[in-house]
């Protein structure tokens, strides 16, 4: 009895100590579950998703974080995520929120300008650049480059020297090549093609680099004309008229086809110029050096 009472007597402080240790740890379980969704952990998880290029979910996590704490880097990253998701206008609106009182103002403006450029409405792009509200303090050179390129896309470059001098030394040769391509694209003339085809069927197509079609046109038109002539000569007037009609149809078709071939040729030149220049700009990231926190 004595021992038992001693045990009882001494066990209470020990039990209290156990409860002090175990109960908080049990509570910790629930707390840790909630901690996963804490602002800090949302930020960490968002950064992980961002680096995994899961931009949609990263933006969601960042938005949740921003409900609790302001962070310009995250606003920038949300804009970047939306840009990567192709939601250009939403992205621009996000960047606009960084235009004032932020350490990332210039970077945000650059991204904004880049997206404006990518929207292909170059007249609108130039009007934005002309408004000083959107100008950066530290990157005026990039704005000038993109401005000059927008003129090149619209074929509005008037001063070649001004255009070339807008670019850095290592870019000048490439830009000169693009400028010359735009200025002297080597278009074929539709009227010339039409006249050539009228004189010798198929010649207009050969002029437009469609040699096979040109030779086919030549053979068909002359074969049908000969058939018509031969049938008239042998008093097969009905067949003569049928072949004459067909010959006239092919003759007219050959002229129309030559004009069309020239249009295709010129359109292909424009397309090649556009895609080459866009590829170059994309590889240069539109001359923009992106911040290191973008997890490249």
């Amino acid at each position: 009895m004595y021992n038992n009472s001693r045990v009882k007597f001494h066990i209470y402080p020990w039990l209290s100590l156990i409860l002090l240790v175990i109960l908080p740890s049990l509570h910790y379980s629930q707390q840790s579950f909630n901690d996963i969704l804490s602002a800090e952990n949302r930020l960490k998880f968002g950064n992980y998703l961002f680096c995994q290029k899961d931009y949609l979910r990263a933006a969601d996590e960042y938005r949740e974080y921003l409900k609790i704490s302001n962070n310009d880097t995250l606003r920038f990253k949300i804009g970047y995520s939306l840009f990567k998701l192709g939601r250009f206008h939403e992205s621009m609106d996000n960047y606009k929120s960084l235009f004032y009182n932020s350490a990332l103002t210039d970077e945000a403006k650059l991204q904004f300008i880049k997206i404006k450029f990518l929207l292909n409405d170059f007249a609108d792009f130039r009007s934005i650049i002309d408004q000083k509200n959107y100008s950066t303090n530290n990157y005026p050179g990039i704005e000038t480059k993109l401005y000059q390129l927008s003129l090149l896309f619209d074929d509005l470059v008037t001063d070649s020297l001004l255009f070339i001098n807008s670019f850095d030394q290592d870019e000048k040769n490439v830009m000169l090549k693009f400028y010359m391509q735009r200025k002297y694209p080597g278009y074929k003339n539709e009227t010339t093609a039409g006249i050539l085809s009228a004189i010798i069927p198929g010649l207009g197509k050969i002029y437009a680099d469609e040699t096979g079609d040109g030779i086919t046109s030549f053979i068909l038109t002359y074969a049908l004309s000969f058939l018509s002539y031969n049938n008239f000569k042998n008093d097969h007037n009905t067949r003569g008229w049928i072949f004459a009609g067909l010959a006239a149809y092919f003759y007219a078709g050959n002229i129309y086809g030559s004009l069309s071939a020239v249009q295709n040729y010129n359109a292909a030149l424009n397309f090649r110029f556009d895609s080459d220049l866009r590829l170059y700009l994309s590889q240069k990231n539109y001359f923009i050096h992106e911040p290191d926190f973008l997890c490249k």
């Binding site: 021992n3 001494h10 066990i11 156990i18 740890s25 049990l26 379980s29 579950f33 996963i36 952990n41």
Partner: protein, 285 residues
């Protein structure tokens, strides 16, 4: 005193142990809660949200206890959402995050099923062939044959698909379906050969009677004109009409017969696919 010392020692040990393991145990506990939350979203078919929560779980699961399950379920979410490329990435990650043969098998089968769904059936077949040659999956032959049959059906190879289902069961419903489709299909070669012999007959064979009559008529008329030109010593006329007109219609008749048969075969296959999609109750890719 002795009893008191023993009890004190035990209690002290319990305290030390609880301090040491409580954090670890509770970490596992909250991860389990996160997993059940993600599973709940998954079962409610909220796949976008489920992916987010599985990814969150993987991010906080430092010991990678739940990696296989998370990756596998993310793969399923993407698959159900129709993002097969993403699904394959996660099934492959699931495969890499387990050492259990059953899990590895299931991951690879899912990759094969995604390839069936995105119609890269050659890849699916290659995966299934590899699985078949692995001795550790010797007891999984039926699964392999089943999905190979599906891959072959999607690849429009009904004859081999039938053979694959035959290995599972000679009376397998999908085997019977494949046989039915194969039996209903028209022969392209036969249609072309009879069209060469009698223009229009290929179209008759595929059930396109009007086109068959038209083809026969054009060929008879132009054939007559060509022969007549030669008979009347209008050699140039004969050559031109024969080459530019008659041969064009003769060649067109053969091509037409081939196209009609191919179209009919596509219709037969499409009807089978519709049945599989809407009425077949067995497991689908």
């Amino acid at each position: 005193m002795k009893l008191y010392s023993k009890i004190s020692a035990i209690i002290f040990s319990v305290i030390i142990m609880s301090v040491t393991f409580s954090e670890r145990l509770s970490a596992q506990n909250y991860l389990a809660r996160q997993l059940s939350f993600a599973d709940k979203l998954f079962s409610e078919e909220l796949y976008f949200e489920a992916i987010t929560e599985y990814k969150r779980l993987m991010f906080f699961d430092k010991d990678k206890i739940h990696d296989f399950r998370c990756n596998f379920n993310i793969g399923l979410c993407y698959k159900y959402g129709g993002f097969y490329d993403n699904a394959i990435v996660y099934f492959k990650q699931a495969e890499l995050s387990t050492i259990i043969d059953e899990d590895i098998f299931q991951s690879r089968i899912q990759v094969a099923r995604c390839n069936i769904l995105r119609k890269t059936t050659s890849v699916a077949l290659s995966i299934l062939n590899d699985l078949e040659h692995e001795t550790r999956f010797a007891d999984k032959k039926e699964d392999i044959y089943y999905w190979r049959g599906w891959a072959l059906m999607v690849a429009d190879d009904w004859e081999n698909a039938s053979r694959s289902f035959y290995y599972i069961d000679p009376e397998h419903p999908l085997k019977l379906l494949c046989d039915n489709v194969e039996g209903n299909k028209y022969s392209v070669t036969f249609a072309k050969v009879i069209s060469y012999i009698l223009p229009g007959s290929g179209q008759f064979y595929s059930g396109n009677y009007l086109s068959g009559f038209m083809s026969l008529g054009w060929n008879l008329w132009l054939g007559f004109l060509t022969v007549n030109s030669f008979v009347e010593d209008r050699i140039f006329d004969g050559l031109v009409i024969g080459n530019l007109l008659w041969l064009r219609f003769y060649r067109g008749n053969v091509q037409n017969a081939e196209n009609f048969v191919l179209q009919e075969n596509i219709n037969i296959a499409n009807n089978a696919y519709k049945f599989l999609q809407n009425n077949f109750t067995g497991e689908k890719p």
